[in-house]
């Protein structure tokens, strides 16, 4: 099967959240999300309670996928940044190391220039964390997976109600 599955540990999750918190602060952003390319939310920061993050994550991934399809059609490898400008709120979407997607929601209190600058810095930090995470997953002993020992009963119980 293609690619290793994405695994997130407590330690890296905290580091990632710290990077997102800092980005939210320094970019004067409202919300920052980190999403994987398959549309699953990894972490978030800021005023997250007012937005349906699951929907946002899947639409973002669809958006990135469609845009990279467009890029390939015209002979580009990828469009690494997308920017959507609204009347009040804007969304800045960027690819981090071809692996994950960084989404920044901001309004008039910030600017595209500031967001781009801060996103660039945060992307490097996130890349380092993901490099570390991938190494860890590769070297982690197999006994770590909670799913090695699931039974048919466990699975049937999901549907018991």
């Amino acid at each position: 099967m293609p690619g290793p599955q994405l695994v997130m540990y407590e330690e890296e999750f905290k580091e990632i959240t710290a990077v997102l918190d800092k980005l939210t602060r320094e970019a004067n952003a409202k919300i920052v999300y980190l999403v994987d390319k398959n549309g699953q939310l990894i972490a978030s920061s800021g005023e997250t309670e007012r937005i349906d993050a699951t929907s946002l994550a899947s639409l973002t991934a669809g958006n990135i996928a469609a845009t990279s399809g467009l890029a390939k059609l015209i002979g580009e490898k990828e469009f690494s940044i997308l920017f959507h400008e609204g009347e009040k709120e804007n969304i800045h979407i960027s690819l981090v190391g071809q692996r994950v997607i960084l989404v920044v929601v901001f309004d008039h209190r910030s600017s595209l220039g500031l967001v781009r600058l801060r996103v660039k810095k945060s992307s490097d930090e996130l890349n380092n964390i993901f490099d570390k995470l991938i190494k860890k997953v590769e070297t982690e002993p197999e006994a770590e997976s909670p799913f090695a020992e699931i039974t048919d009963d466990d699975i049937d119980n999901l549907f018991s109600e």
Binding site: G3, M8, E12, N38, S58, G69, S145, E149, E161
Partner: protein, 198 residues
């Protein structure tokens, strides 16, 4: 590609409903959405045209309870069935953990079913999947229509490998949850198998 989060103790998996246009993929998701209690589901998103044809995808997040202390979340997607949307279909299939093929039982849709099945296999191969090993469940939908082909015929043409299969009448919910449960089960078994060999 499932996503295991040890921090929030969650496991996320992606299931894609595939099949020919107007076969009932969106109807399957709509029925699941309507019959699932509000705590277990998120918002259903449909990116559709003005005439209710799927343009890009439908999306429905479901929570199914815990296994070994991990919350299980399944993201259900449909693809646009119409032939000319192949580029979109391929994008949605990326990272899939399990596939439901919704076939249209009507005689005159047999060619469309076969084309869609070939297209599924081709797109899976392009994403690097082994077509014989991916968790796949067949649903022969629209069994209530008078012009539907026999089950033997459908199985012979569309399911020679004998993937688990169900008869469906999606708007009435016949076969809908049976199909979902089976694909979820196959995905979790695959996850267990993967965890053992890695």
């Amino acid at each position: 590609m499932s996503f295991i989060n040890y921090s929030s103790r969650e496991i996320n998996c992606k299931i894609v409903y595939y099949g020919p246009g107007l076969g009932g993929k969106t109807t399957n998701l709509q029925y699941i959405y309507d019959k699932t209690n509000p705590q277990a589901k998120g918002k259903m998103i449909s990116l559709a045209t003005e005439t209710e044809r799927t343009l890009f995808f439908d999306f429905l997040p479901l929570s199914l309870g815990e296994i070994k202390g991990f919350k299980t979340r399944f993201h259900l997607y449909t693809v646009p069935g119409q032939v000319f949307y192949d580029a979109s279909r391929k994008l949605i299939l990326k990272g899939v953990d399990g596939v439901v093929f919704v076939a249209d039982s009507q005689m005159e849709r047999m060619d469309a079913n076969m084309d869609s099945m070939d297209n599924l296999k081709q797109n899976l191969v392009e994403h690097g999947y082994d077509v014989d090993k991916i968790p796949l469940v067949m649903q022969y939908n629209k069994r209530d229509l008078p012009n539907s082909a026999s089950m033997e015929e459908l199985r012979r043409v569309l399911n020679p490998k004998g993937f688990p299969d169900f008869e469906g009448v999606a708007p009435k919910g016949v076969g809908v949850f049976e199909t979902l449960k089976t694909v979820v089960k196959l995905v979790l078994i695959e996850l267990k198998r993967g965890a053992g060999v890695r």
